[in-house]
Symmetry: C2
Subunit: 310 residues, 2 copies
């Protein structure tokens, strides 16, 4: 009898008897059958471009941990950075879950709106008008990073841009524009590179070709590539040039030198997104912004004396 276990109106005695029998027989209701009638599966879908990217691994970990506490299963789909696979995954998972957590840096707003049901989808680290989302306060992070560098005496700061089609990358650029009218500062926007270690390698030479004494990288992977290339070219970090990353993935603390980086709450974003999806939060269908913090490590230091204004 389902009532005793589900919490219907039964006498205490009956419930006890039933529960006793259930535990003895190790009975567990079949979720599929239950879902068929209740319409809810107690399963969620998480779609990420690349699990190998520590950023998304962290997000997945946050989602998985929170899901366990609310007794939900999580389907994970890795789309391998392929927008087509992404839309397919949305369609496939959307049908068999109660909701979707979607990390989609690249797809167009319209595609997302067309493929995903806004009522049962929460975007992670991405905003699209009309859809729920959880993002980090990128603008604040950028501000903290730039102010940190300015305080260290840097006057020319290079920014290594991420993929043109990435929402996060555009976000960074917008935030950077706040410093356009800062007469003390010159932000040198370098070309866009892949958001990877290899992209950072490439960017290293770009940085050294210019007058910048500090670089702000699109993300930590790029920053790591920068560190690598700068070392190979004999440019001391941070003596000759300071490097600041973004995301604060676990690698940041392991690099040489350890990387100053803007910390974004990756796993928390996953957990909060899940809560939003399950409606356990006040911010109904809304956009949620999580704070960012600059973590100062050894890759940023005072600007070389010669470049500082007297």
């Amino acid at each position: 009898m389902s009532r005793a276990l589900t919490g219907g109106t039964v006498s205490a005695a009956t419930r006890e008897t039933v529960i006793e029998a259930a535990t003895r027989l190790n009975y567990q209701p079949n979720r599929a059958a239950r879902g068929l009638i209740t319409g809810r599966t107690a399963n969620l879908g998480l779609i990420v471009p690349d699990l190998r990217n520590p950023f998304f691994a962290d997000v997945a970990k946050g989602v998985s941990a929170r899901a366990r506490t609310v007794d939900h299963g999580v389907f994970v789909a890795d789309t391998d950075e392929d927008p087509v696979a992404e839309l397919e995954a949305v369609a496939a998972l959307g049908r068999n879950t109660d909701g979707l957590l979607l990390c989609s840096p690249r797809s167009a707003d319209a595609d997302l709106l067309a493929a995903a049901d806004p009522a049962t989808t929460v975007l992670l680290h991405r905003q699209v008008p009309g859809m729920s989302s959880v993002v980090a306060d990128v603008a604040s992070g950028i501000r903290q990073a730039v102010r940190h560098l300015r305080a260290l005496g840097h006057r020319r700061i290079a920014y290594v841009h991420g993929p043109e089609d990435s929402w996060a990358a555009r976000r960074r650029v917008t935030a950077l524009a706040a410093f356009d009218d800062d007469a003390e500062l010159e932000i040198l926007r370098l070309g866009s590179v892949a958001p990877t270690f290899e992209g950072g390698l490439l960017a290293g030479d770009l940085v050294l070709a210019g007058p910048a004494t500090a670089v702000l990288a699109y993300n930590d992977l790029v920053a790591l590539g920068l560190l690598h290339r700068l070392a190979a070219r004999g440019a001391a970090v941070p003596e000759r040039i300071s490097v600041v990353g973004f995301d604060d993935v676990s690698l940041a603390a392991m690099s040489h030198p350890p990387l100053t980086s803007v910390s974004v709450p990756k796993d928390r974003a996953g957990a909060v997104g899940l809560d939003l999806l399950l409606g356990r939060t006040g911010v109904a269908g809304g956009e949620m912004t999580l704070p960012t913090t600059l973590v100062v490590r050894a890759s940023s230091g005072v600007a070389p004396l010669s470049t500082r204004e007297r």
Copy 2:
């Protein structure tokens, strides 16, 4: 009518009509309902100790990619290195899937045997008698690493041991024993450390306290910690001391210097495990071993002259 779509006996004309209507209405069968009657869900479970660990992220990626090609869903559970959570996950996922892919470095053989149904479970990077498994050829990897170092003139090689209770760690030690009667070589087995960057930091000092000119680390994370600590202590790598990692995670190529490491096919293990689970391979219910390869990078070099026998 289900027959037309599932492949029953229908006339070509009927099938065409049905399919046309189905596509027009964007009809997709409800998997839960289908599973209720067929007994198969087309869903798999993957259980890992920590998604943040790049090793398991790679495995998950391999599983996810292969699952997509065979049109199966994947439940992912991150147990946060907690054996209790692991057994719970096995119980929870086992019930609602067609099979389980299980990465369980720590749990005891008996616990695994008791919790998981051997008929529907494949162990990844772990062997337990009586259960199907996919592992890497650790012994070969260890041999390649040691021979590489010996060829470079190293005579005293330290080994940084992983967690005592880890199957993989025990595996490494067993493989290392093959060199016990090599008169030319002395393997110095250092104490066991956590399989993390921090563990490697700790091990760095242990290594420097001994006479070894080369270190073989339990895994790449430990090797990275070693690199970090050795640099901090002023020991040049590889001039003063060579470092070799294990697993060849993507970080290995990004370290400074890039890490020589034993490459194990992580994503392939996931894919092969999935095939084994679905019975699409000849090795029925068996144990499968995948090859390992040493990838030589800059962290290993010839032994310091003074230590070499003439």
